[in-house]
Amino acid sequence: MKLYEYAIRRTLLLVPVLIGVTILTFYLSRIVLNPLGAYVTERTPPELIPAIEKKLGLDKPFYVQYAYYLRDLVTMDWGWSKVAHMPVLEALMYRFPATVELAVTAFLITIALGIPLGILSALKNNTLIDHIIRIIALTGISIPVFWLGLTLQYTFSYWFKTNGLPSLPSSGRVDPVLLQAHPVNRITGLMILDSLIQGNFIVALDAISHIILPSITLAFLDIGTITRVVRSSMLEVLRQDYITTARAYGLPRRIVIYKYALKNAMIPVATISGLMFGGLLGGAVITETIFAFPGMGQLTVMAITFNDSNTILAFTVLACFIYVFVNLAVDIIYAWLDPRIKY
């Protein structure tokens, strides 16, 4: 089978996966939560509640409600998001780019630091450098995100500023005052990209300064994980016979490591980082809350708190899409990394 056939098959597989996910989440949202909760408040007159139930189709049997839901899902009518105060789809279109921006930045930082540290750690196996890197990795894995976020925020945003040092912003995606003076049109929804395309470097710089702290907070945990995976995978590969052979042929060490060893060592790394990226795209609840970053995580937590089943369902479906596609991408990368893999 060709790679593209495999890709198509995997994409088609998405349909049963999605149906399974929607049945499960829809069922849970109807059983665990009362979907009415999103539509009634302390002020709703009780007499009106039957009418609201009727309007939402809650008086119908479960399978009918699910059929309605599937129809709306396909026709892109994802309902009203109570917490975002706009249609769910529109809310996702606003929120998702912010999450993508944060996820990509955090992911780039993770890869840029995690892989070289892992390689270094493997090459300097059991030396002082290796131990230090491993301690850093362990720290990264162990530090609670909220603590790291608050500490970074306190140090680089508050303490630096109150001591007259150049500081980073503590909340938001961009300075609204600056944006007011230098407006940016919405093209992709990615603030940094949009402002760069429009040559608005002031806003681009400001947006970058806003994303530094939250993305470092997010990246820190993943750096530790990636470092550990790269290290052990690299050590594993370096013990293989073909590396010995390559060395025996007298190939320079650099070539052996970076051309032959690294590529093979990257296979488990691709799996882990794919999952990580998927996780990042799902939104980072705590980080987004601390830094008031208007992404998916914030929206979803609000939706869960306020029992907003439309938003929860939409988020679940979106997260499912993301995971399936990220996994597909990982599989394709496998084939590139290891030509022996056939589909």
Partner: protein, 635 residues
């Protein structure tokens, strides 16, 4: 070469264990342990710095030896033309016809205006605003508003009687059942029409038939008369609520017009065609930007001119982030919950002396204004006719039918402890359904007292008739909506007090999620419940009717309370236009409902405002849903 060999071909297998830190530590040298120690010390040190109160790094100037305190160095004003507010809520909608919560209300009251509004800090004085004056007919059935001339909407459309008519008709025709449109019900035929729309069987012909009844008459370009179905004293207060705000008709028509029983999606998200001092420039998730209206007409005295150019309202969920932004000057006004206020004020001074004193190390930056009484009332409802949720029939044991039990419960609540420990004294104890500061509040009416001895006597006596005694105990359940800490603690306080009396009543406390709570409440199955009430229009009618009217009220139906005599008084107060007479009726209502111990009045919360010291011109009016930015300046 030797080293490489060693590394590549004879690695220590323990070094390869994936993600298991403990195992990797084996066989490490002393140098490594030293590094570990240093890292731990660094982490702990960083933690120690971070855990300090945000204000710590700026050392306070030591008081001079003489008694003259040196003037603290004034921090330079940041963003002098902009007010940045950081808070937790975000509007539902920006359309005054449908929005019914305070986050949207704050934006709306800065963009749109009403024919009547409040006189500065006074919530009990309603003055003509967009109207120059108004008259009420002797029978109280029609109000004539004489409009101000020369006012323009933000889009340039002139403000006149047509616009007033259009806006009121619009709110009634949209008739959002969850919105504030019901308040316009007293307008002739409006309630009937809205009920038809809510039932889902109204057409434009019904609207035409309604308009033919002349609910609103345009007498000339600047005179409009509103006719009512019955005399209704709170009407000027209703006209001050955003639902009666005047919007630009040509703007609405250019953006989707009016649809019967449906929101206008554009108006839900935009607010740029009112007459108010600000215009919403953008609403991105979590950030609302408003700019000053350079042509603002100036208010009734012509003295309101927005001094700042931009207002930014940011949603920042984390209280620590908001505090940090305030202290470093990136935010001017922030919401600080009671749980965090001790970072800014001397909490003991507040609890013991009732004085809000900002801590000296932040006093040059932060001002905490208050306390101000809000118009919220938190109360406990005692159900006089408890139903079973499944059988939908009244249960056998009905303790609250007996006034002695209700009275005993009112005696058993430790108001002082609740105030101090739970709400940190940011509340006062109400003496009835009408909050302090509202028209009709009578300070001479006493509040309920805490007296366990009397509670015990009453319960022992009542137990003989109701069939409970220490040997034959009965159980009652207090429900509250889970997550509400103040209600949870209040419920536990009441339960432990009653349980400690050993009179044969065992009180359990059970949390329910909101829909379950509501379902039980609708089924009248809550024996005892904690709830709060916040005002719609600022008039006692919006308290005494929901609390006391056995037929029209929100709560009496749910607790099986109906007193025909009281109902008569309630109808009478709504029709009485003479303020003195009305006040007397309201007093009688309060006394009547208090002496029957229908509710236990718990708290009327007090608010405080946290802002930078450089923010000037702020004032409090409990009727305002949020900040009124037009009078603010920085410097």
């Amino acid at each position: 070469m030797i080293k490489l060999r060693k590394v590549y071909f004879y690695p220590d297998s323990k070094g390869n264990v994936l993600l298991l830190g403990g195992v990797c530590m084996e066989g490490v040298s002393k140098a490594v342990w030293a590094v570990v120690a240093i890292v731990i010390v660094l982490v702990v040190a960083a933690a120690a710095i971070a855990m300090q109160k945000p204000a710590a790094p700026t050392p306070t100037p030591a008081p001079a030896p003489t008694n003259v305190t040196p003037a603290p160095a004034k921090p330079a004003v940041q963003n002098p033309d902009t007010i940045i507010e950081e808070t937790i809520g975000e509007p539902d909608y920006l359309d005054p016809a449908v929005d019914y919560e305070t986050a949207g209300g704050e934006v709306i009251t800065n963009v749109y205006e009403t024919l009547t509004w409040y006189n500065g800090t006074r919530a009990d004085q309603i003055i003509p605003w967009l109207a120059e004056r108004y008259e009420v007919s002797p029978d109280g059935m029609s109000y004539t508003f004489y409009l101000r001339k020369g006012i323009k909407f933000h889009d340039g459309t002139p403000f006149n009687a047509t616009a007033v008519n259009y806006s009121l008709v619009r709110a009634i025709v949209i008739a959002d059942p969850d919105g504030p449109a019901w308040m316009l019900g007293p307008i002739r035929g409006a309630e009937e029409l809205m009920e038809k729309i809510w039932a889902g069987n109204a057409t434009w012909n019904d609207v035409k038939a309604w308009l033919a009844k002349k609910p609103i008459e345009i007498l000339d370009t600047y005179t409009v008369r509103i006719n009512l179905d019955y005399p209704y004293a709170p009407f000027p207060a209703v006209m001050a609520f955003p639902v009666a705000a005047v919007v630009s008709p040509s703007y609405v028509e250019a953006h989707g017009g009016i649809e019967l029983g449906k929101h206008n999606d554009w108006m839900d998200r935009h607010a740029e065609a009112g007459t108010g001092p600000f215009i919403v420039k953008s609403w991105e998730p979590g950030v609302i930007t408003m700019v000053a209206n350079p042509n603002y007409w100036g208010g009734p005295n012509g003295d309101i001119k927005p001094k700042i150019k931009t207002v930014i309202i940011k949603k920042v969920d984390d209280a620590n982030t908001r505090l940090m932004d305030l202290l470093k000057g990136d935010a001017d006004i922030v919401f600080v919950p009671v749980t965090h206020i001790d970072q800014l004020i001397d909490i003991n001074k507040w609890l013991d002396e009732g004085k809000i004193v900002v801590k000296p190390d932040v006093a040059d930056k932060v001002a905490v204004l208050g306390p101000f009484e809000t118009f919220d009332i938190n109360f406990i409802g005692l159900n006089q006719k408890i139903y079973d949720e499944t059988t939908k029939k009244p249960v056998d044991f009905q303790p609250f039918k007996d006034i002695r039990v209700r009275q005993a419960f009112a005696y058993a609540f430790d108001y002082k402890t609740y105030m101090r420990e739970v709400v940190k004294n940011f509340a006062i104890q109400p003496n009835g359904p009408i909050p302090k500061g509202m028209f009709g509040y009578d300070p001479s009416i006493p509040v309920y007292e805490y007296n366990l001895t009397k509670a015990k006597e009453l319960l022992l006596a009542a137990g003989k008739d109701l069939g409970f005694s220490p040997d034959n105990p009965k159980t009652l359940t207090i429900y509250y909506n889970s997550g509400n800490l103040a209600r949870e603690k209040g419920a536990l306080l009441l339960a432990s007090a009653i349980n400690s009396l050993h009179v044969g009543l065992i009180i359990q406390v059970v949390p329910l999620d909101w829909p379950a709570f509501l379902a039980k409440m609708r089924a009248k199955a809550l024996p005892i419940f904690f709830l709060g009430w916040a005002p719609d229009y600022i008039d006692p009618d919006d308290y005494v009717v929901p609390f006391c009217h056995g037929e029209k009220g929100t709560f009496p139906i749910r607790i099986g309370f109906n007193d025909p005599e009281l109902n008569k008084l309630l109808d009478e107060q709504a029709r009485t236009l003479d303020p003195q007479k009305r006040k007397e009726i309201l007093r009688q209502i309060t006394l009547k409902v208090d002496e029957q111990y229908v509710y236990i009045w718990l708290t009327q919360p007090t608010a405080y405002q946290v802002q930078r010291t450089w923010v000037k011109g702020w004032f409090y009016n409990p009727a305002f849903p949020g900040n009124y930015f037009a009078t603010l300046s920085k410097g």
